[in-house]
Amino acid sequence: MITGYPRADGRKGIRNVILVAYLVECAHHVAREIVWPYRDQEVQLIGFPGCFPNAYAAKMMQRLTTHPNVGGVLLLSLGCEGFDKYSLRKTIKDSGRPVETLVIQASGGTRKTMEAGRAWVERTRALLDEQERVPMDLDELVVGTICGGSDGTSGLTANPAIGRAFDLMTARDMACIFEETGELIGCEQHMATRAATPDLAREIVASVAKAAKYYAVLGHGSFAPGNADGGLTTLEEKSAGAYAKSGASEIVGLIKPGDIPPSGGLYLLDVVPDGEVRFGFPNISDNAEIAELIACGSHIILFATGRGSVVGSAISPVIKVCANPVTYRKLEEDMDVDAGAILEGRRTLDQVGQEIFDLTQTVANGTATKSEALGHAEFILTYKSFEPIGPSCLPRAS
């Protein structure tokens, strides 16, 4: 049994975070200064840097500020930016959370806005700290997975171990989300065989074709130099390894950033924008994908790494599963799970999969992950554009 904080929409959170959200880069500094004294008290910084409105960014901010792990939100506006702060505030207020908007141009500038913001944070922290955790069923938990800093061991140990953990979770009707269609190029036909319906299978194949086209236009796949330094040679080799994170369950849905799984089961998150190539690379770094998994309701992120990523995230804890035993020995303080032990014959895939499943529940109950304890709370959000998902993408919901 796990516990969580009850929210008005019926979901439960495993953390009780106060978000300070800047609505344009021009308000970033003031927002960061407000957060800084309280950074060890579950007060975290997110934001959108652009001055011009974007429907994707607006939806992301709505989903993130009403995420079950979030207890209250302070919005930081410069005053003249295009972000619709009024509807965001209304969405948060309607969700039953404490919310305040500070407009720097109307609040007397940097210093006065910082003082007002810190006073609000202190009052709200005290209020939220009185909330008590209540029992929460495992099937109320949503878990996302990503791999980053991959190398030749990622697909041998950490990714398939996460796949085993996902199989344990979906068997308990938990919602599990895997992603990055651009890192699944070459796996689309196999994914199609796992789809709940033929129409969903077609949607999945089309989503990967869209990613391949998008990356071809950009002239660069989702492949970093460190991947090759770690023994990965080609994009399709990286894909095959990344795909192992999804386990062996039936794929019950295809969602886009900000879509919340309507039931338990395994979902593919399509992170590649629709339409003509605009706004540059789909995901400029791992935290952009983590933010999207969280916007889909993920309470916890399982992060497989071979080279050794150290990032965490705002809002949801990140469990670092280290694929490479050599990396683990170098970066042990940053790693939650030693999946590289599989390569050295010290553990089996099933043992590590079970360890990840058990650790997910421990972390849900409040134990800090390595990245949380080290203060990692990265966040990035940029411009994108999406069409809504098609009617075949969630066959169980219709």
């Binding site: 070459g186 970093a224 130099p225 080799e237 032990a341 043992q351």
Partner: protein, 116 residues
């Protein structure tokens, strides 16, 4: 981590420094850092490793010729560009993607396309 944890040998290859993922694969995965000159077993043959090979890299299970598809996880991961001798490292110098080019960093700070 207790070294006495019960765990089966990770490899279908009898040398557990190398891992054969699927019977149809024509590469084996390196599970422990190997140095040039080390002797390893691939299938039933002893091979002297011609170059250093770090954990996560791949060695050719057979002699491979340009145009051959390399199979790992039983799936094609690209095409061979240079003759590869059994036991040699298979990487960006002799294998290219069938989808998008692979980019690597050299000593300076620019992205350059790996020349297969």
């Amino acid at each position: 981590m207790a070294s006495s944890d019960p765990a089966p040998a990770p490899s279908a290859n009898r040398d557990n420094r190398l891992l054969l993922l699927r019977p149809e694969d024509n590469v084996v995965c390196v599970c422990a850092n190997l140095a040039a000159g080390d002797t390893v077993s691939i299938d039933d043959g002893e091979i002297t490793v011609p170059e250093d090979a770090a954990v996560g890299f791949k060695l050719a299970r057979y002699d491979l010729a340009p145009g051959d598809k390399v199979l790992k996880y039983g799936a094609p991961i690209g095409s061979v560009t240079q003759p590869i001798a059994k036991g040699a490292v298979v990487h960006t110098h002799n294998l290219k993607s069938d989808y998008l080019p692979t980019y690597t960093l050299t000593g300076d700070t620019r992205f350059i396309e790996a020349t297969p």
